[in-house]
Symmetry: C2
């Protein structure tokens, strides 16, 4: 039996209330965690492959709860623009040219980046989801894939059928947790959303959807339906399913109450919201009210990377300034959003998100023996306020080491960068 | 004669309006830049040491225009707290215990971090400035050191005398550009500020001072003096000197006009302002009005690192959301703040800040052959929105390679981390 023993590290299980364990050990058996805690309590593992984690923090792998991963191809292609010209003149015309293999290489490029940065699971909504998922399986990362259902497309019904087929086929595949992806309330009429709900309920699959990202979206919804996007999703039964709602920037008090009551997962995308000037999501309020809050990078056209350390930092510091309260969103809360709460927001709280015996062994190891992470007063503060994606030296998904000290074990990174650049050149020329 | 030739890179001179030069070359002779531009125009250098910069961007070294570098010792020691208990219960009592050698090791730790992150010059206001400066000279980085003059100290006069002696002694030393450091308008009475002005004028030395960091500071000034801190500094003649004003968060329209008219350098510390909930500085307005704006990290107790890539990102994206305008503070402006404008803000615009023949050769090389910096649509966007400090593979100060691919040429990094941690333990126990 394959056993991996991470030892001499500082273990952050991220179980609620758990303190960092110095001289900690994590024992992994096949794809699961067998033990995470103090060396003194650890089981003996004579045949284990040992990894010396001296000076390192061992924590749950980070969960990127909202992205469009193949948009790496458009990283830096169009920045500092107003939303409509950005979409209409740059992003959409380029996406029209996308071929399945572009998505494969673009996704793989993003997967390289995420694995290097300790991300072990990501939720991806994009076109050509089969190729995106293939890239994830290839790279060894855990993925929650969903297609993009747009009500205005003439073939919306066919796309839903394809999505259903895909979800049914992928359920139970290792490291793949398929979802339905109706794009957003404003792009999906009631009838389509109701059909999505029926399929999702039948297959017991979650729904991934953009919600209340911009002020305009909420105003338009009020005009057209007399209700906010959240109220509308509640009325249509969408929120009775397991839902991951991306963005949720512009929420009324009642919207927040609905999301909390329904246990809707929220994917807060702070970097994207800032860069696109979408607004400041009410993170401190949502946390205080008990919402299930994860963090997402959004796509690379609006971030411009897939760096969850950056998202933790932003979640930690931006709300402080918005509320004028330096105690808002403490480091512990930001780190929980990137791990445990992110997992819960995707309906994976039982499987991943903490280092707990019996869960899937999705793990990141961060090396603190670096000038910017010394002295080691507080590892949680360091992870949120000072660490960077590059401080990750090992990433483990389902018990498999997929990244170690500069080397991606399953992917030829140079080939991926070359193929993705080639695709990007074709798309943007 | 020692000649260094950086070749096959993308050269960003950061001269106003200059576009990135592909297949660029930078030729360095002794401590100065001899040439920066297209390979086709580059002079022959048969005896040069050649550095292959394929896939890399060659840009001016980053300028950290405001920090308290030895506060690395308190990184992660006290976070997520209100300002007064943070200062009174945590920071000040610990700083009371500081010894000169603590500052030396803490400064050297921060210098290791900065050199690794492409910072070639920093402006430092802190206690035991002789030891801080010694650390900078040791590490090979350029420094603008200033002590901390506090009017309420019984020995404020002696401290000013010491500062004057230090400034006179250090002027003309290579890589050292001493300044006077009256802490802030609210901690310095008029008489002290007037004496500082007299010394600064006589020695032709700049002044580094915190200005209008918090709303309370401005309100208190209006109550006590009937004028804002900026108005008061103008009245006292401070702003007729070369001044670097840190923070400048809470400015009136008239304050901004004064700062622009006087050519006062501003050190915007976005990360610190967010984390301490100080407020959003009016960066787009200041840029539009022609202010001289640099970027600073502030000290590690309020940031918590010395990462200028993070500061560029924040400068680039936060103002967009505050103003609701995604075109505010474009990448080009953020990068200029971290280089050319930062140099100008410290009165060093003639010496550093762009890759221009005749200037000091302060240079950073960023490796873009990494997943998060591909494809290479736009290097300026990448540097601001996607790059990280770790992407720097070479840092050159005054023509000397001080950092190269993981190795600090002048410093024993393991020793520095050990000594700084030891000091931190003593201070906080």
């Amino acid at each position: 039996m394959s056993v991996l023993r991470l030892e001499h590290g500082i273990v952050l299980t991220m179980e609620p209330g758990a303190a960092p364990v110095t001289d900690g050990v994590v024992v992994i058996e096949r794809e699961k965690i067998r033990f995470a805690g103090a060396a003194a309590q650890a089981p003996g593992t004579p045949d284990a492959e040992k990894v010396d984690c001296t000076g390192c923090v061992i924590l749950p792998g980070l969960v990127n709860s909202h992205t469009h991963v193949a948009m790496t191809l458009l990283r830096g292609f169009a920045d500092d623009m107003h939303l409509q010209p950005w979409l209409e003149e740059k992003i959409w015309p380029t996406e029209m040219k996308l071929k399945p293999e572009d998505v494969y290489w673009g996704a793989l490029l993003g997967i390289c980046e995420m694995l290097r940065g300790g991300v072990t699971c990501f939720s991806d909504m994009y076109h050509f989801f089969r190729e995106g998922t293939e890239a994830a399986v290839e790279g060894g990362i855990r993925v929650c894939p969903s297609g993009v259902l747009l009500g205005f497309l003439p073939n919306a019904g066919d796309l839903l059928g394809e999505a259903r087929e895909f979800v049914a086929e992928m359920q139970g595949q290792p490291r793949v947790h398929p979802m339905f992806g109706p794009h957003a309330p404003y792009t999906c009429p009631d009838a389509l959303l109701e059909r999505v709900v029926a399929h999702a309920a039948e297959l017991q699959a979650p729904i991934h959807i953009h919600v209340s990202e911009t002020r305009k979206e909420v105003e338009d919804s009020l005009k057209e339906y007399g209700e906010t996007p959240v109220q509308r999703l509640a009325r249509l039964g969408v929120l009775d399913q397991q839902v991951s709602a991306a963005h949720c920037v512009h929420l009324t008090h009642e919207d927040r109450a609905i999301l909390v009551e329904k246990g809707t997962g929220i994917a807060h995308c702070g970097g994207s919201n800032l860069k696109l000037a979408s607004g400041f999501a009410p993170i401190p309020q949502l946390l205080a009210e008990g919402a299930v809050l994860g963090l997402g990078t959004d796509g690379c056209a609006s971030n411009n990377n897939l760096d969850m350390f950056e998202e933790m930092l932003l979640a930690g510091i931006v709300s402080k300034c918005v509320t004028g309260d330096p105690t808002a969103v403490p480091a512990e809360a930001a780190l929980a959003m990137a791990t445990r709460e992110g997992a819960r927001s995707l309906g994976l709280g039982e499987k991943i998100g903490t280092l707990t015996a019996g869960k899937q062994a999705d793990v990141a190891v961060v090396d603190c023996r670096r000038p910017h992470l010394q002295p080691l007063h507080n590892v949680v503060s360091h992870l949120v306020y000072s660490a960077r994606a590059d401080d990750v030296i090992m990433t483990i998904v389902a018990g498999e080491i997929v990244y170690r000290e500069g080397i991606l074990e399953r992917v030829d990174e140079a080939e991926v960068m070359a193929k993705a650049s080639e695709a990007a050149r074709r798309l943007t020329s």
